[in-house]
């Protein structure tokens, strides 16, 4: 799990490129927010946001854009990714599962490839939903670097407000 390269596609790849600083490595003139240091950082937090706001999104096939989350990045963050994955599995309840079922899904279906694939797809749906939320947040009334940096605080505060208040 989280050992092989994952390819973001379509708008989510575009959005992720907008949010990731690594985009500048390939194109230094790219007009991006660059609020995440690496693609893996987006990949790590986006599912959490998606679950929190119950935002799921299917893989975009309209756009051909792609962004690879490389295997070495995944492996370097494997523990955190597994923790996030199990957390998503534990906390997501769109299927009205019982606590034990969610625990079973989170911890005992790793060996079952079919179930694991389904669970991973769910994980990625939330991941894409989270990317869209982040993209929306960082593009709303923001166009400059200062705007984007200000948006970091804003996003943090918005997340807190919309989640805990």
């Amino acid at each position: 799990m989280f050992e092989k390269q994952y390819m973001l596609k379509g708008k989510h790849a575009t959005y992720a490129k907008f949010l990731s600083l690594t985009t500048l490595k390939k194109n230094k003139d790219a007009k991006i927010a660059g609020v995440f240091r690496a693609n893996i950082d987006i990949y790590l937090v986006a599912p959490l946001i998606g679950v929190n706001f119950n935002l799921k999104s299917e893989e975009d096939t309209i756009s051909n854009d792609e962004l690879a989350i490389f295997a070495e990045q995944l492996i370097s963050q494997q523990d955190n990714l597994i923790n996030v994955f199990r957390l998503v599995m534990l906390s997501e309840n769109s299927s009205n599962l019982s606590d034990d079922e969610r625990i079973e899904r989170a911890f005992k279906e790793d060996e079952d490839s079919e179930k694991l694939a389904a669970n991973m797809e769910l994980f990625h749906k939330y991941m894409r939903g989270g990317i869209e939320w982040l993209y929306d947040q960082f593009t709303e009334e923001a166009s400059t670097k200062d705007d984007y940096l200000a948006k970091i605080l804003k996003v943090t505060q918005t997340y807190k407000l919309e989640t805990f208040m």
Binding site: L21, G34, V35, F36, R37, A38, D41, L44, V45, L48, I49, V51, N52, N80, N83, V84, R86, L87, V88, L90, S91, D99, D100, R102, I103, E104, F107, K108, D110, E111, K145, D146, L149, A150, I152, L153, T156, Q157, Y159, K160, T163, F164
Partner: protein, 683 residues
């Protein structure tokens, strides 16, 4: 000059008063004084010389008659005198020389200085004394001496008061030229010529020439050129000074301006420091902002996972807590680890699990508590993990906020600094380059110093030139005065030269005439005195020589004493004759100034004065025939002849002169004494 009388008192042999009145008759113009040897004949000539010139051939003490002298009592005084009365230029002169003698207690005779007294009778009949006046040697009788010399110059006296025994020397005397000139009246014009002769050092012309400052004209011109040059230079330097002053004023103004700029420069410097600080601050703040941005992004990227996970963790922990999972497995141990122990058959405690079923069951139980089989352990582990994440996520928003606030503050700070930089840059931009100003200031100072140095030098030059001009102009003014004097002197020299030439031409002509006439006269008289073939010649020094004609040749001849006396008598007689004739000629003219007068035709007229011949023993060296001849001629050529001679000589002359004798005297020795003679008038 005609001698009226001589009074001899206590003089030499003549004790008491003795008067000889001389004949002044124009026909009987001979006075004869007879005497024996040592009676006092020569004393009469000496009396004349003493009276007129204080000239004696004996000691002053011997002037007083010896008998008188001897008869003087102790502490008594006696005096002697000689008085000559003569006619000169129609005036009657009374010339008396007196000497006092004092016999002291030791019977020694002390003679006082002879005193001269000269008087003349005015045409009105009144007597006039020649005043006393001190000469350069302190003598009181300067005017009187001058008067006597005008009547008969001492230098001529020997020709008219002479000793016949010394007649041979009469024409060989050095002053014969002066004598002739004086007698002929050429002396005045000759003296005038001497005074004017440019070739003579003591002449007026030479003295005037000496007074000429000959170098002054050159010096004057040189000084004028120097003054002109100096003035030109001065003007140049003054113009230069004005320019330099203007330049100095410019540099001084520039100095003030630059100084003011440099004062402003302090502000610029401060501003530049501020600018530099701002630029540094901006760099620092910019760096900080980049760091802030990186930290914000970094914190957001790396630490946000927990923050975003927080709501999920709460749900997950609730799920875990509510799950029906029991038992606790060995932490960190997994089911596969137990499988490994079972496969090897030895427990970690050393128990052989193949032989101890109880132990094996216990191990298998532990396996069931471990994941994946046992969720309890898994959940406990994840619960701890999530709790840790939850703890770690606490304060994340504050971190982000702090990051952002710091970023924002730095951004504001940067803005502030940038604005400050813009502002200060604008201010600095409007200011002149300080380094350039300082450079300009230093250059200006150098120029100012240079100009001030030049000003000092130029001022020095000006002062020096002004002094030079003033001094030179003073010299020029002085020279101008001298030049004026020079001009006058030059004019005077020209006059004196012209007058000299005029005198000389006239003199030469007159002298030639005089010489010619003298020669004729002397020869004429000589012919009358001497019957022979000899003739007399006169050289340029008025010295006479006898020549005789041998064939057609003139030859100088040997002279006997007698012939020489005749020759010299001829010379004197010729001289006196000519002077007498000349005097008559001159006095016959209307304009009668006895001194030098302009002639009627512009030539200088010369004048002479008739002179007496007072002869002592005139015929001592002459034979009787010639005595007779000479005696005939003398009264003819001279206005007045006084013959002092012995009876024997008179006997030879008597025949020729007897009818010419106006007065006759006999000198007689009293009691045959050599020191007491009397003069007795015979006729």
């Amino acid at each position: 000059m005609i001698i009226k009388s001589i009074t001899i008192n206590n003089f030499r042999q003549y004790k008491g008063n003795h008067v000889i009145e001389f004949s002044t008759d124009s026909e009987k113009n001979v006075t004869v004084i007879l005497g024996v040897n040592t009676s006092g004949k020569t004393t009469i000539i000496q009396a004349f010389n003493w009276c007129l010139y204080n000239n004696t051939s004996f000691k002053s003490q011997e002037v007083l008659n010896l008998e008188v002298c001897k008869s003087m009592s102790v502490c008594s005084t006696q005096e002697c005198f000689v008085e000559v009365i003569l006619l000169h230029e129609q005036k009657e002169y009374f010339i008396r020389r007196t000497q006092s003698f004092y016999k002291n207690e030791s019977k020694k005779i002390k003679a006082s200085k002879p005193e001269l007294n000269v008087q003349f009778k005015e045409t009105t009949g009144g007597m006039q004394s020649i005043p006393k006046a001190r000469g350069v040697e302190g003598e009181y009788d300067l005017h009187m001496k001058e008067t006597i010399n005008k009547i008969l110059p001492e230098s001529l006296s020997d020709y008219f008061f002479f000793d016949g025994e010394r007649i041979a020397d009469i024409n060989n005397k050095g002053d014969v030229v002066d004598a002739v000139r004086g007698l002929m009246g050429l002396d005045v014009i000759s003296t005038a010529m001497d005074r004017l002769d440019p070739s003579k050092v003591a002449s007026v012309t030479s003295k005037l020439s000496k007074e000429l400052d000959v170098g002054n004209d050159t010096k004057f011109n040189k000084l004028k050129v120097e003054v002109e040059n100096a003035k030109e230079k001065l003007e140049g330097y003054k113009n230069r000074k004005v320019i330099i002053k203007e330049e100095i004023e410019f540099f001084e103004r520039r100095k003030i301006e630059l100084n003011e700029l440099l004062l402003k420069n302090r502000e610029v410097k401060a501003n530049q420091t501020i600018k530099t600080n701002l630029e540094r601050d901006i760099n620092v703040v910019t760096g900080n902002i980049i760091k802030n941005e990186n930290r914000l992004i970094n914190d957001f990227s790396t630490k946000s996972m927990g923050y975003f996970a927080l709501p999920l963790i709460k749900k997950a922990l609730k799920t875990i807590d509510e799950a029906k999972q029991d038992g606790e497995g060995i932490p960190g141990m997994r089911a596969s680890s137990i499988d490994h122990i079972l496969n090897r058959g030895n427990c970690i405690c050393g128990c052989d699990l193949t032989k101890n079923e109880g132990a094996k069951e216990k191990v298998l139980h532990e396996k069931s508590l471990l994941p994946p089989q046992h969720m309890g352990t898994i959940l406990r582990e994840y619960k701890k993990t999530y709790q840790r994440i939850e703890r770690e996520a606490e304060g994340f928003d504050s971190v982000i906020k702090d990051d952002y606030v710091e970023l924002r503050e730095n951004k504001l700070l940067l803005e502030e600094k940038k604005e400050g930089l813009i502002d200060i840059s604008k201010r600095i931009k409007n200011m002149i380059d300080v380094a350039k100003i300082e450079d300009d200031y230093q250059k200006n100072e150098i120029e100012l110093r240079k100009k001030r140095d030049i000003l000092l030098v130029v001022t020095g030059y000006i002062s020096s030139l002004e002094t030079e001009i003033v001094n030179n102009e003073k010299q020029i003014a002085g020279i101008a005065v001298v030049s004026e004097k020079n001009r006058k002197i030059t004019k005077s020299i020209a006059y004196s030269k012209a007058v000299y030439q005029w005198f000389k031409q006239s003199y030469d002509k007159q002298e030639a005439e005089v010489k010619n006439r003298l020669l004729k006269s002397v020869n004429n008289i000589f012919e009358q005195m001497y019957h022979g073939t000899r003739k007399i010649t006169i050289n340029e020094k008025y010295q006479i020589n006898l020549i005789t004609m041998v064939g057609d040749e003139e030859m100088e001849t040997e002279e006997s004493k007698g012939l020489e006396s005749v020759k010299n008598f001829s010379f004197i007689a010729g001289l006196v004759d000519m002077a007498r004739i000349k005097a008559r000629t001159t006095t016959g003219k209307e304009n009668e100034d006895p001194n030098v007068i302009i002639g009627v035709d512009g030539e200088l007229a010369i004048t002479t004065e008739p002179y007496p011949l007072v002869m002592d023993a005139p015929f001592s060296n002459v034979d009787e025939i010639h005595i007779n001849n000479i005696a005939k001629i003398l009264p003819a050529v001279s206005e007045q002849v006084v013959l002092i001679l012995m009876n024997k000589d008179w006997e030879f002359a008597k025949a020729s002169l007897d009818d010419k004798v106006g007065c006759a005297y006999m000198i007689e020795k009293n009691n045959n004494s050599d020191v007491n003679s009397s003069i007795r008038r015979l006729l």
